[in-house]
Symmetry: C3
């Protein structure tokens, strides 16, 4: 399965909002999807209320004890430093070091993920258990990092349809070495691009997928493109944490009730492990797209939402422990259906007056016994009673209490039998 | 009580969708309501997607054992054959016979009611207990039935009012020898016609009542009349299974919120044994009237809905066991109120500014003690506070939490006292 | 605290709908609020459906036993007579007297409050325990009351703002010698006038406060003023029973959803002891203001609603037992916020596109740790996401689940930081 390969390839990279590993990540994606364009925003560029900072790069980082033994090694665990730490290279006593070490008591073997993008700072991250073992009086510490003017980079895939109206996806590239947050989403989005390219060669709608660093990336992107998106976007999805198989999660757009909200809800009909979070619980790029004045309604999709699984933002967010094949494929199916639901947003109309004689068409059993068990015969008629030209397939699916997939099958059958038209 | 007499007279008749017993049923109804007209649809006539089939008639049917003893006798129990069985007259071995016998294990003493209108078939129905006793190796079976070109017949009562706008009722005539389903509804509809004739001699609205075979009957009727009904119908009710006293049941019209839905809901305010079924649970002629394109919004009224009582479609659906006087009279009252609610769909307006001085009008007790018990004094005022010309009596009744009947009494009293006008 | 002084001063006065004690009550209020005008309605004046009755005054009332000992003394307990009793002065036997004595078995030590405004009547009130002790065969009874043509009087405070649009308060003056019902409300309304005078010296809106006898008073007032109120009133509150600290109670205006309903709801956000009563449970002057045709939407505010606390309408409705300082101050705060909520009914608009960089403005902590605890940083952003010019502060407060007070503080901070404009 290709998504696993992508996750594997992208896992061990110290991605951040800007810098070489982010550039390599986009380069990797562009190798898989040749049409991707790279948008660049120079350090110092103003984007609404923000200014693009300098690039941060890191060659190495470690802590050695008094005997010269590495007791922390960035190369072994890419979460071992606070991201965007200033360079450091010195002996430090134990007490001062402890103040610079971040750990998480609730997961004593996990290394937490910490960043300090906009304040000068340096620090290390280790597991609570490792931290307990720090007994030396002195340590030698090194962070071989550097800042320089450079570029914030965004990858954008755009496929033009016969209409300007577009379907839009966004996910973020700035997280290092964690599987669910957010390597899995990079893999899913690549997979979705390949799916759309193949499935909708000549499509009515246009498609846009972007790969951005969180927050500063969406703000930069919007500063260039919000007018065109506002004009053309039909549905927008912010996806992240799409790899586990525990729940399905959704945050509707700011006001709710938009096409993307409906499409995703339709795709999730009958999912028992669906959790709807309030817009107040948003936390990623949906914050920028839905901002008042920007008003690009974006629906957020996750399996287990960020912050809601114990391994979140730690070294334990790995494939196997959090991300699974099943989880990824579940997300893929939901996204596929969400796209389909608008591609095929038909409003069927019944072609015959009164119930059709179903037996003539091989769609009915003859004897009049009362049947308690579920049967499709009945659902065919149910579908037709709402085929009044005012309900689309999604809406009918909800009214007759079937999921979209089965409803769409019924739709195709009835269309084929000329019992409905579109 | 007349309804019981009608049920008794009509019970022992092997009615079906077409044939002599149906004809006799309409003839009997016409004797009671002279104005009824009979509409005829010849076998072979096309009605939308359907074709009127041949008439089916049956003279006799039985099973004899090897000794010549009748162990099943159609004349003793009219449900003993599958309705629309082909004629048969032969010896049959036990095993082959068993395949042709329908019974119902959940009600081991009941003979189930089975039909096969549109597929060539023959069969018998007996109780599960009778079936167990079939020990002979061979049986002689006879079904003396016949098919012929003939007519589907519909009885229609129409009373013209000063307006074309009409109130419409429909029930079905095609069920044999069962009390609740549907002899009771025939009786109730006859009773309602008599009531309307007497009560509304010179009425504003027109009234229409039809007696039809289910499905094919409503389809034939609509193929001739749907345009006039669509134009003129104010409220439509499909009634069936109106004879028991266990619950009140309602299925709103396809979209809900129509006048008939509101009228019936108003009539049922405060009924504790009210069950509302989804339109997905429809099962009778409301299916045709509410069909998209036909769009004649029809509300279904039942006591216990078809399929929801254990004796449904069996020989145990009898007067006494299922249908009771109380049940019938309950249905009659609800239908009467439903009609009244539109006849008297007034929007009262309070005539005085601020609360009236009720004592001047003999409507108040003087001492100021706090009263906890329910009192009408209070309800008179409550009625007036919503008499703003925007609420009709039904709506006020709901707001002040009284049933329509008492609200209507208050309405009349206040009108009489000139505290409101219409 | 001044409210307590007012309650104390006004407690021991046999107020009624008309008469000297009511006049003295208004005189006392006018001493505190010099701008108050007294409106007079002569006995015999027609007001809509009502006629202003005669004044009732009482000098003394008592019951003496056969030995001349006073066993009931109006001067000791002002609730001891039925208000508006006719004069009486005679010997009476025990049995006849008992019929004229009102008591309340549910509160055996309390003297109930009884009136008979519109029917000629006389009677005494005593506690159930006192009543049991009446063993003499004969008693001498005296009610030294009198009726005469006079005036119904209303106190009105009006403060003109730069706009005619006004905020309106009403409470009733007709209840004697009970603390929560309604001496506390007189005190609160005086306090609110003083507050408005001081706080809103040059105000946009006008303010009107009236002190009226219940029912006949609001009817008289409306007969003169309903057109101007209907035209100008923005928000109206009927207040009573505002002194206890048990619950907060509200009855929305007849149709609900009016500005006063919203303002009061906003003020009561997060109150756990809030009880909403249906408009059907109204009982005071809101009945007249909300009457159809009058249509001056009035919201009722109480702590524990009349009729809902055991001491209601008895001599046990006292300061200490029912009314408390905390209760009064709670009411004062709610009324203050209700006024403010319209004074400051701003619709903020975010000034920057996308989330602002909060750290630049000292509104953000830098490290990226996931924080579970409540923090205002987050709420600042939450406030801005709904600052789209379509939500006022109240509405935003509800959406982001903060009370009005804190939301207003955030509003002021963000305005100050120029992150929103109005």
């Amino acid at each position: 399965m290709k998504m696993l390969k992508i996750i594997n390839d992208l896992f061990y990279m110290p991605r951040s909002i800007m810098g070489e590993p982010s550039r390599q990540t986009l380069f990797y994606i562009k190798k898989l999807v040749n049409e991707i364009k790279i948008l660049k925003f120079r350090s110092g560029t103003k984007a609404f209320d923000w200014i693009v900072p300098e690039e941060w790069n890191i060659k190495d980082a470690y802590i050695k004890d008094i005997k010269g033994k590495k007791i922390l090694d960035f190369k072994k665990n890419l979460l071992s430093v606070v991201y965007h730490s200033m360079p450091i290279n010195k002996w430090i006593n134990r007490k001062d070091l402890l103040e610079k070490i971040h750990s998480d008591d609730s997961l004593p073997n996990a290394v937490p993920y910490v960043t300090s993008y906009y304040r000068k700072y340096w620090g290390f991250c280790m597991s609570a258990n490792q931290k307990k073992k720090l007994k030396s009086k002195k340590y030698f510490i090194k962070i071989d990092s550097s800042f320089k003017k450079g570029f914030l980079e965004i990858g954008e895939y755009f496929k033009r349809g016969s209409k300007n109206k577009e379907i839009f996806f966004s996910t973020y590239t700035c997280h290092p070495s964690m599987a669910n947050d957010n390597t899995a989403s990079l893999a899913l989005q690549i997979y979705l691009i390949k799916y759309v390219k193949e499935k909708y060669k000549k499509s009515r709608f246009s498609y846009r997928f972007i790969f951005i660093p969180e927050t500063i990336g969406s703000i930069c992107y919007l500063s260039k493109k919000y007018k065109v998106l506002k004009k053309n976007m039909l549905m927008g999805f912010a996806i992240s944490c799409v790899g586990d198989n525990k729940q399905y999660s959704i945050i509707q757009s700011r006001e709710g009730g938009k096409l993307s909200d409906k499409a995703l809800e339709a795709a999730l009909v009958n999912k028992k492990n669906l959790v709807r979070y309030s817009y107040l619980e948003r936390g990623s790029d949906e914050r920028q797209f839905n901002w008042p004045g920007i008003d690009i309604p974006m629906t957020s999709f996750f399996r287990t939402k960020y912050g809601e699984y114990p391994e979140y933002h730690t070294s334990e967010d790995t494939f196997g422990r959090v991300v699974t094949k099943k989880g990824l494929m579940g997300s893929f199916k939901i996204m596929k259906f969400s796209i389909e639901s608008i591609m095929k947003n038909y409003y069927p109309i019944a072609t015959v007056f009164c119930e059709p004689k179903m037996d003539k068409r091989g769609l009915y059993s003859y004897l009049s016994f009362t049947e308690k068990k579920f049967n499709y015969q009945r659902k065919y008629i149910d579908f037709m009673i709402y085929s009044d030209g005012k309900n689309n397939i999604d809406q009918i699916a909800k009214k007759i209490k079937l999921n979209y997939k089965i409803s769409f099958k019924i739709f195709k059958l009835l269309l084929n039998k000329k019992l409905i038209r579109v």
